[in-house]
């Protein structure tokens, strides 16, 4: 069964005013459990609006959202449990930190769930380890940490609720390359270890290519496509027209093909490209 399902999901900002804008336009979508989905789209294409429907922060103007088969907004009281099931990490999540210590801040979500202290403690230690926070950091004030550390604390705060679906909006933006790498590999490990569904919104095609099994492309408030990574990057010309791109390495291989050196049409990670080139060299030698 699909963990997230939408039917004709539409959201309009400022209905009835001169500023009316359709942010999400009739989206039908089914995301299966356990998948790692990359969400891409031009700025203002409706990605952020879309993901805020998945945990009931926004109420659809039209259409419906189902989480685990349960329809949202039928009963407002049921929205809170949904937010524990679908964890959403906003862009620049470090700006939402507020507690005296890192430990307490991570505890905020689990405490709202009504878990007992032992369970909360266990979860905090586990997520702290997962996001790479040293145990002594837990007693520090979150405001004393570096940008990358703050970011990881904020992500841990959502992970500690152990949501069935984890959604992250640009979790690596504004970080240095090392910080980016760290967050992304951490997400990959998290996905592997927990088997939870992960939705990653990103502008970096490289990050998406490296991690996602499927890609959801938004264009001008509409769902352009939702398909396997290989198939989506195959449509590089259409993506380019939308103002999106394909990973750099794919572009390299596209040009090689145009020059008459066609190796493979589906190169989208550097790792695979290296293997391909090496095997070709080997064949030549042999």
């Amino acid at each position: 069964m699909a963990v997230i399902k939408t039917e004709g999901l539409t959201y309009v900002y400022g209905e009835g005013t001169p500023f009316r804008k359709v942010a999400v336009d009739h989206i039908d979508l089914e995301i299966e459990e356990g998948e790692f989905v990359g969400i891409i789209g031009h700025t203002g294409s409706g990605k952020s609006t879309l993901i805020q429907h998945f945990n009931g922060l926004l109420k659809p103007t039209e259409g419906s959202v189902y989480i685990d088969g349960e329809k949202l907004w039928d009963d407002k009281a049921k929205l809170r449990p949904i937010r524990f099931k679908v964890g959403l990490v906003f862009q620049y999540p470090e700006y939402q930190l507020f507690e005296e210590t890192v430990y307490k801040d991570i505890a905020f979500g689990p405490k709202n769930m009504g878990l007992d202290d032992d369970e909360i403690d266990r979860r905090i230690k586990e997520t702290a380890r997962m996001v790479g926070l040293k145990p002594e950091m837990l007693e520090k004030s979150p405001f004393d940490l570096s940008g990358g550390q703050k970011r990881r604390v904020a992500i841990a705060g959502v992970m500690a609720m152990n949501p069935k679906v984890l959604i992250l909006d640009e979790p690596a933006s504004g970080l240095d390359p090392k910080g980016r790498e760290r967050i992304l590999s951490m997400l990959k490990d998290y996905h592997k270890q927990t088997g939870n569904t992960v939705l990653l919104v990103s502008h970096s095609m490289e990050d998406i290519a490296k991690n996602a099994q499927k890609i959801l492309v938004m264009n001008k408030a509409k769902l352009f496509c939702y398909d396997e990574t290989v198939k989506v990057f195959h449509r590089s010309e259409e993506l380019r027209q939308m103002g999106l791109s394909v990973p750099q390495i794919t572009r390299v291989f596209d040009r090689l093909k145009a020059m008459g050196i066609g190796l493979d049409d589906d190169v989208y990670t550097v790792k695979y490209a290296a293997e391909l080139v090496l095997s070709m060299l080997k064949r030549r030698e042999g």
Partner: protein
């Protein structure tokens, strides 16, 4: 939800009143308020009502917008009217029941007060609806500039006001974001008693405070980078000009002002 709040409530338009000089509008509004307060009878107040009824359509502000600014003070109007109605015990008695006595003077004063407050709000709303907040602070700065001689930091005060106005939408947006983020972590803002509700505000207020300080620091730095050093020798992008409209407006207000004084005397 938070975005629905109108602040500064400027409603862009092209009416004569919109095009008037903000300084003149500010002074004329002050004159209008004085006019309402020197009117000492219902009849004199009618001149003020007439003024409001003439000026409001000229401004081109939709009824809905005006109602939005009048609505919040309706309770105050009602309370003032009721107090006057029941506690003024002189004049012809219209109706009596136990200790409650409604008299002609009570009714007169109650309606007088209610009309005065409503005219006051409509008049000052016309000012804020037709003048952008920036023009308004500019006008205040210009009008207060003689105080510079007394070492009052007029420019700095106006700059503070401008910055405060500029950051209201930014902070509202920020609050919205923080609220969503904390709700995503299961924060419960809507339910519970007053103590619980107050406590639930902590996760929103602290990040908001931190954000305001961050904005202040960034803005100060950006201003310094562009060599801002206070008001001395600064020229402005928008020059305020007096025109025929301002003259006409002033004459118009003076006529009504005189009208109120005349009616006051005739009634006596």
């Amino acid at each position: 939800m938070l975005k629905d709040i109108t602040i500064g409530q400027f409603f862009p338009g092209t009416s004569v009143i919109h095009k008037m000089d903000a300084r003149v509008k500010l002074l004329l509004t002050a004159a209008f308020i004085v006019m309402l307060f020197i009117a000492d009878s219902l009849r004199a107040l009618c001149v003020g009502i007439a003024f409001t009824l003439i000026v409001y359509p000229i401004s081109g502000i939709p009824i809905k917008m005006m109602w939005k600014s009048v609505k919040p003070i309706i309770p105050i109007v009602i309370i003032t009217a009721l107090l006057n109605l029941f506690f003024i015990r002189t004049g012809n008695v219209y109706w009596k029941w136990k200790f409650i006595k409604i008299t002609s003077e009570g009714v007169d004063t109650a309606s007088f007060m209610a009309i005065r407050i409503i005219c006051l709000i409509i008049g000052s709303s016309i000012l804020t609806y037709t003048t952008s907040p920036i023009d308004l602070t500019d006008a205040i700065e210009r009008l207060l500039s003689p105080l510079k001689k007394l070492k009052v930091p007029v420019h700095e005060l106006a700059m503070m006001m401008t910055i405060a106005l500029r950051f209201i939408p930014t902070l509202i947006e920020e609050t919205d974001k923080i609220m969503s983020a904390q709700k995503a972590r299961g924060a419960d803002i809507e339910t519970g008693g007053p103590v619980k509700k107050a406590k639930a505000l902590i996760p929103i207020l602290i990040p908001l405070f931190v954000a305001s300080f961050r904005h202040a620091e960034e803005l100060a730095l950006a201003m310094e980078c562009r060599c801002y050093h206070g008001g001395e020798g600064r020229t402005r992008m928008k020059q305020l000009h007096l025109s025929w409209r301002d003259l006409a407006g002033t004459v118009f207000v003076c006529l009504f002002f005189a009208g109120v004084i005349v009616v006051n005397h005739i009634v006596k």
